[in-house]
């Protein structure tokens, strides 16, 4: 295994990949629940916390595509952009794509949080888990990129 370049935080790839794996697992679960009747959501179905109300709401679909499936797509692509090889790459396109993809993911999170709070009037804990993971992933990518830029622009010590 190739060692991380000096300018790249050593934690960048493992931490972001771990977050991607967690987000992907929950998104796959929500997608399975959407497409099958045998898998049921382990979640309250009454009160403010009501996963079923959220996952069966009109807002659970975007242009005919279940948002749970969009979550799977998001984390699969994010996984590719967070591989060690992608992090080691100094290609501007890769770095812009990684940050851009995270911004898109955060945009979707904000849209869904708004929908839960103001349109559906219920909160899904599984969806919230994905939202939290996405926000942490967004933060990790931004901080890692910032530290990398900083290390590259700083003069070498000694």
């Amino acid at each position: 295994m190739t060692a991380a370049p000096r300018w790249l935080p050593a934690w960048a790839a493992p931490v972001t990949l771990a977050l991607v794996a967690a987000g992907l697992a929950v998104s796959v679960y929500l997608t399975l629940v959407h497409y099958t009747t045998t898998v049921k959501l382990a979640c309250s179905t009454t009160g403010v916390v009501n996963c079923e109300k959220v996952t069966s709401s009109p807002q659970s679909m975007l242009a005919g595509v279940p948002v749970a499936l969009l979550g799977v797509v998001f984390f699969v692509v994010a996984g590719g952009l967070c591989l060690p090889a992608a992090w080691r790459s100094q290609s501007a396109a890769v770095r812009i794509a990684r940050i851009g993809w995270m911004v898109a993911g955060i945009g979707m999170v904000l849209h869904l949080v708004y929908a839960e709070l103001f349109q559906i009037d219920a909160v899904c804990l599984w969806c919230t888990t994905v939202h939290v993971i996405t926000v942490i992933l967004f933060a990790a990518v931004l901080v890692a990129e910032a530290l990398a830029v900083q290390a590259m622009t700083d003069p070498p010590a000694g």
């Binding site: 659970s60 679909m61 904000l110 933060a139 901080v143 010590a157």
Partner: protein, 295 residues
């Protein structure tokens, strides 16, 4: 000994000086980290603001009811072009109330079996029924000028968004359709403002099979709809666009209720059209529903 030592000292001094220079704060190199932190904090602040506004707002939020008018083209398209695969996926839904079996006359109009709808724009049960009826009848023909309305604001399931058949027309090679919307959704006196007058036939059929109740749908000689098959409360607070979108989501109770009801109606209509069109009447969803029609 002193001369080399002095050179070493000078080199050491230069190294120290260079190290001191490099260890000074570099404002420009800190900028990426500051920007990253600002971005993350900005996202957290937006989410916190949304939660705060929601908590301080309290109560439920619902889409305001819209006045009657033309149905949005996107909604009409979504409801009248439901894929056969989705109808088949929903198939028969056991939770729905069944159609009512009758021994009636096979009425005809323009040489085709006649279907009759009697309802009113104020009526919340009619609001629920129209979604399924439009979806089902669109498998046999085409609606034009479908209206958009909502049930009464002061009745049960208030402001349920739905279509209106007022001024709508229907063309089909297989069926004829007569509809009457008795009143608007606007209160007037002790009831609601009259909208359309029922024909003698419409009055006669509803009086015979479902007196004083709406919705009433005469599905030909064998079946009628005497009430909506599902609880229209599941449509509460939703706009027409939201209901149409939910109808495309097979895990949504709205999709299961409306398309399940539409499959039951379609199965009954297929008995009037002698199984035509075969692509509709032989589809698995309709065949499944037909097996559960009351004998």
């Amino acid at each position: 000994m002193s001369k080399p030592k002095s050179r070493q000292q000078r080199r050491a001094q230069e190294r120290d000086r260079a190290a001191r220079l490099h260890s000074r704060p570099q404002p420009s190199s800190q900028r990426p980290l500051v920007l990253a932190a600002a971005g993350v904090l900005g996202v957290i602040a937006v989410i916190a603001a949304l939660v705060t506004v929601r908590l301080t707002q309290g109560g439920t939020t619902g889409a305001p009811a819209k006045p009657s008018g033309r149905a949005p083209a996107s909604v009409v398209r979504a409801v009248t072009t439901v894929p056969a695969s989705l109808f088949n996926l929903i198939g028969y839904q056991s939770a729905l109330a069944p159609l009512k079996r009758i021994n009636g006359k096979a009425l005809q109009k323009d040489g085709k079996p006649l279907i009759v709808f009697v309802g009113a724009e104020y009526c919340p049960l009619c609001a629920g029924e129209r979604w399924a009826l439009v979806a089902a009848l669109s498998r046999f023909g085409t609606f034009h000028n479908l209206g958009a309305t909502h049930s009464s604001s002061i009745d049960t399931d208030p402001n349920t968004a739905t279509f209106s058949f007022h001024r709508a027309t229907y063309t089909s090679s297989y069926l004829s359709l007569d509809t009457v919307e008795l009143t608007t959704n606007q209160p007037q006196g002790n009831f609601y403002k009259p909208l359309e007058k029922p024909t003698a036939l419409e009055q006669q059929l509803s009086a015979k099979y479902d007196p004083n109740y709406i919705p009433f749908v005469y599905l030909g000689s064998r079946y009628i709809v005497d009430t909506v098959a599902y609880n229209p409360g599941i449509l509460a607070g939703l706009t027409m666009q939201q209901i149409a979108a939910a109808m495309r989501n097979p895990s949504s109770p709205i999709c299961q209720a409306i398309l399940g009801t539409a499959n039951n109606i379609t199965a009954a209509l297929c008995q009037q059209t002698n199984g035509k069109p075969a692509s509709v009447c032989s589809s698995s969803g309709v065949v499944a529903a037909a097996k559960h029609l009351p004998a």
